[in-house]
């Protein structure tokens, strides 16, 4: 029975893929393969991270992990990665849950030997999980690593590759794993699973982006942001788009027409958050504040609909809210979300 179901799921995935290519789907998509997944990180000390599912209008399904699997996620969701019909929910409380992308049923987990997991990539049937490692006595992370799990459904950590402090997002280029760390970028040799080199990066790296098909690394400092184009042969910074922008956060999403949206925060004493619209092709700020508020904790762009989704944590006092904007920052609607909404997956 399980095999039949898995075969059906595989079929669904395959046909789903074809559907994207413009063919008519033969098998209906899984329940969670359309709409928008809202990632709710959860509140520190409460482990109430969850995923919500928004399908338009007023239709929001809360806590889909718990409702499908009959147990709480019990962690803080740092990242959600989809790959080949599997969805990896990376918890910074030290675990990775693997669920079926279509129905969110549990397929496995990496439950032991992780510390502060941040993100994940899949390469040749192995999982590579970036992890800050344990804090030292002054809350630094000198023992950061990439955990290697030799099963795409999770299981034991087979190996830990020591990397620079605080690894975050990763990207696979050829047989190399690029790791965006808090201060620099590491290059890991995936044949040997060893750290090959460390590249100095201006600004604090955040994540990798494909801009016009080229690999870029988004980095920021207090008064400007950088889009470093990475040379995929020698992994050096080939060129940089530098845009002056005060108080940029790590929350950035690419829009269309070479535009991007960045959450900024003034900090003390006003604590004003805003959404800035920038042009990557022009290398300038189009509008430093298309929308203002407080508690902006994530951002995403819904292609096709051309909507900007802004996650508002409502001060973590209760659940958060998603504010849907048009490309000019006009509020279209709000969607109730879970605790600390932090990101989106648009289907």
């Amino acid at each position: 029975m399980k095999n039949v179901r898995q075969s059906l799921l595989l079929l669904a995935v395959v046909f789903g893929f074809w559907a994207c290519e413009g063919e008519s789907p033969q098998v209906p998509l899984g329940e969670f393969e359309s709409g928008v997944l809202i990632i709710n990180e959860g509140a520190f000390g409460a482990n109430d991270g969850e995923v919500y599912h928004f399908t338009g209008g007023e239709n929001v399904t809360a806590d889909i992990f718990e409702s499908v699997n009959n147990r709480p996620f019990a962690g803080l969701i740092q990242d959600l990665v989809e790959r080949d019909g599997r969805t990896y929910l990376v918890a910074n409380t030290g675990k990775v849950e693997v669920v079926d992308t279509g129905d969110f049923s549990s397929l496995g987990a990496v439950a032991d030997d992780l510390d502060i997991s941040r993100s994940l990539v899949v390469y040749q049937d192995k999982l590579y999980i970036s992890d800050w490692g344990p804090y030292d006595s002054i809350f630094n992370s000198p023992e950061s690593y990439i955990a290697v799990v030799e099963n795409i459904n999770g299981g034991a950590v087979a190996k830990k590759i020591a990397v620079s402090s605080r690894p975050e997002k990763m990207e696979i280029v050829g047989g190399r794993l690029l790791v965006a760390n808090a201060q620099n970028m590491d290059v890991v040799n995936l044949e040997a699973d060893t750290l090959a080199s460390t590249v100095e990066i201006p600004g604090n790296p955040v994540k990798f982006l494909r801009i016009d098909g080229n690999l870029h690394l988004y980095a920021r400092q207090s008064d400007k942001i950088f889009f470093h184009r990475i040379n995929t042969n020698n992994f050096s910074v080939q060129s940089t788009i530098e845009i002056p922008l005060e108080g940029a956060t790590s929350n950035l999403t690419l829009g269309r027409n070479g535009e991007a949206y960045v959450v900024t925060s003034t900090g003390w004493p006003d604590y004003d958050d805003a959404v800035a619209k920038i042009s990557l092709s022009q290398g300038n700020v189009i509008d430093a504040s298309i929308y203002r508020g407080s508690g902006f904790y994530g951002i995403g762009f819904q292609a096709g609909e051309n909507r900007v989704f802004v996650a508002d944590n409502n001060g973590f006092q209760g659940n958060g809210t998603v504010i849907v904007l048009d490309e000019n920052g006009e509020e279209v609607k709000t969607i109730p979300a879970g605790r600390g909404p932090s990101g989106f997956v648009f289907k």
Binding site: T93, G295, N314, G315, F316, G318
Partner: protein
């Protein structure tokens, strides 16, 4: 002699029947002269009764015998199991904060022998590091006590006391408590007292491996696992001294050192291995002068707290207290007490250093208007570093409406304002602390009925109180950019009911006792932190609207047995009331055997089973609590 003793104790308010009405009547004629105390021998060392000027307020009295079977355990356990109060408990032996009348953890003031012991940096007390053993008895005053007790007493106040006696000779006591999950508590106490001098020393060591099984909800298949990071080791010393210097003056001193070393049980789904050490030193010295028509009290104290989190984060605070007050009879019907308290606070926290000077002026009066009607009026002005906290008055009264044969019915009420000055962390924490914060303040009104009945072998005392309270400028920490910062943002309206009863029936040699508490606490938040917040109009998180508790006790000769029950209603997880935890009920049973006189040992032994039905429950979401567990305790007196 006995009459004299009774007379004096009544005068000092130490003998009060259940709800504080009886002494109103017993003082009907006139207030006796102070000098009467001095003929007393073989009585307790004098300390000022906390509820003397708290007419109209509800009081929970906890006596030595009530605490006996909780020896060495956190005070949390007693309060959770035996009262209508709810504590937000992070696990057995872990952080536990008290919520009174729907207010937050910092909205109750905690005193030990008259010294305020809430942490000045955190603004609250962790009831898990107040082990039963550091005090002999306690009173809990429900409702606003700002005028009477100063900062923090918005929802109520908790008063812990050691009790020392004169003229008892040599006395010693050894207590041991063993139980499930490695529980092993031991305490030794020895004291000597003569007519004029009394000393008692107690040392204790409390340990629990805390490796209880729990369902790991974060893992596939939710396997049952055991905690391997919850060990608690605690030890301490209590030294009490008293000296009757002259027939008119007494000096007493108490010192309590408590050291707790805890492995913090992680939240389900977390793999943290946090450690916390708390070292608390409290020392107080009191001087009393008993004049013909007045009484002088000078008090000095020190509270030194050190909290070390994960070795690296060291947080130290020290408070020095000096106070003086004078109580006198203005008229035969009016008794008053006026005083001033000076506090100097030093903080050396992991992220900042701060110093603060606090001055408080207070005045209390008791008016005996009629034989059956009395009032308390309290006034206090608190000044901290030149900032005036809200001036706090309170007015409470008790009126014996009806007194018939074996039956009394009284009415009580109180109007009060209270306040809480922002904690050191609120004002100075780096980053985020806001020195501009205003004190939190509250207005409250309450009214209640008190009923006592005695019919043959049956006795009943019951009381019902309704309260309304408005708390403004409530401080909450909000994420602001890359850090969190506190703001005076929340307004809350609290209202509720408290019902308590205590019944006794004697049938031959058997005494049946039944007591119970029910608390209804509505704590409605009136503030949204931003336009998208959905918190206004909702119940505050982890504040159960309902809690009920009841205990049946049967005593016959040397044996007594009990069944205790508590039911805690649904608790919301966050301010928007979307997620909640289900209600739970727990049953405990136990028995106690008093060694007979001819037995070679004096003392008693007891055995208890907690959570008899092995109920799986969470007080706070994903915080584990133990299933069925056992305890055996033995007390030997020398």
């Amino acid at each position: 002699m006995r009459i004299l003793l009774f007379f004096t104790l009544v005068f000092f308010g130490q003998v009060r029947m259940a709800f504080g009405l009886a002494d109103a009547l017993s003082r009907a004629d006139s207030l006796p002269a102070y000098g009467d105390t001095l003929d007393l021998l073989g009585v307790e060392v004098f300390s000022f009764p906390v509820e003397k000027y708290a007419q109209g307020q509800s009081v929970i009295r906890i006596k030595e015998r009530d605490l006996e079977r909780f020896q060495g355990q956190a005070f949390t356990e007693y309060l959770q199991k035996q009262t209508g109060l709810f504590l937000r408990q992070h696990g057995p032996g872990m952080l536990a904060s008290l919520t009174m009348r729907g207010t937050s953890a910092g909205h109750n003031a905690v005193f030990w022998n008259g010294l305020p012991i809430n942490s000045p940096s955190l603004g609250q007390a962790d009831f898990s590091i107040l082990p039963v053993g550091g005090f002999d008895q306690a009173e809990i005053l429900l409702g606003s006590g700002g005028a009477l007790f100063g900062t923090d007493a918005i929802g109520g106040s908790v008063h812990l006391h050691t009790r020392l006696k004169f003229n008892q000779g040599f006395q010693a006591k050894v207590q041991s408590n063993v139980g499930s999950f490695g529980l092993w508590n031991q305490s030794m106490q020895a004291g000597y007292s003569s007519e004029k001098f009394s000393s008692r020393t107690q040392v204790y060591r409390n340990f629990s491996r805390n490796d209880f099984p729990f369902r790991n909800l974060s893992k596939i298949g939710t396997p049952i696992e055991r905690h391997d990071h919850g060990r608690v080791l605690q030890y301490g010393l209590v030294q009490d001294l008293a000296w009757m210097i002259s027939p008119k003056s007494q000096i007493s001193s108490s010192l309590w050192y408590n050291d707790t070393d805890r492995e913090i049980i992680p939240l389900i789904g977390s793999n943290t291995e946090d450690q916390q050490q708390d070292r608390n030193l409290r020392w107080v010295v009191d001087y009393f002068y008993f004049g013909e028509k007045n009484m002088l009290n000078l008090k000095a104290g020190l509270v030194d707290d050190e909290l070390i989190f994960n070795v690296g984060s060291v947080n130290q605070t020290r408070q020095y207290f000096l106070s003086g007050d004078l109580e006198w009879n203005i008229l035969p019907e009016i008794q008053a007490k006026s005083g001033v308290r000076q506090t100097f606070v030093q903080g050396n926290l992991s992220s900042y250093e701060a110093e603060e000077s606090r001055t408080e002026f207070y005045h209390s009066s008791n008016f005996l208007l009629k034989e059956n009607l009395r009032f308390s009026l309290n006034l206090r002005q608190f000044v901290y570093d030149g900032n005036f906290a809200p001036f706090t008055p309170s007015l409470g009264g008790e009126w014996m409406v009806f007194r018939g044969k074996g039956q009394e019915l009284g009415l009580k009420g109180m109007l009060a304002r209270s306040f809480k000055v922002p904690t050191l962390n609120d004002r100075f924490w780096v980053p985020g602390g806001n020195p501009e914060l205003l004190p939190e303040e509250s207005y409250s009104a309450e009214m209640g009925l008190v009923h006592q009945l005695e019919k043959g072998a049956f006795q009943l005392e019951q009381s019902l109180t309704h309260f309304q309270m408005w708390v403004e400028n409530w401080i909450i920490w909000l994420p602001r950019g890359s850090f969190w910062a506190p703001e005076n943002i929340r307004d809350v309206h609290n209202s509720g009911l408290e019902y308590t009863f205590n019944a006794k029936y004697k049938l031959g040699r058997t005494v049946f006792g039944l007591n119970g508490n029910y608390a209804l606490n509505r704590a409605i938040n009136h503030t949204d932190v931003n336009a998208n917040d959905r918190s206004a109009g909702k119940q505050l998180p982890y504040t159960p609207v309902h809690k009920a508790q009841g205990q049946l006790e049967v005593e016959r000769g040397l044996i007594s047995t009990f069944v205790n029950h508590q039911w805690v209603g649904q608790r919301f997880i966050a301010t928007d009331n979307i997620g909640s935890l289900p209600s739970y009920r727990l049953w405990d049973v136990g028995f106690r055997y008093q060694f007979p006189e001819k037995f070679f040992l004096a003392g008693q032994a007891g055995f208890q089973v907690h959570n008899v039905l092995d109920t799986e429950y969470q007080i706070l979401r994903l915080r584990t609590m133990p299933g069925r567990n056992y305890q055996l305790n033995i007390t030997i007196r020398l």
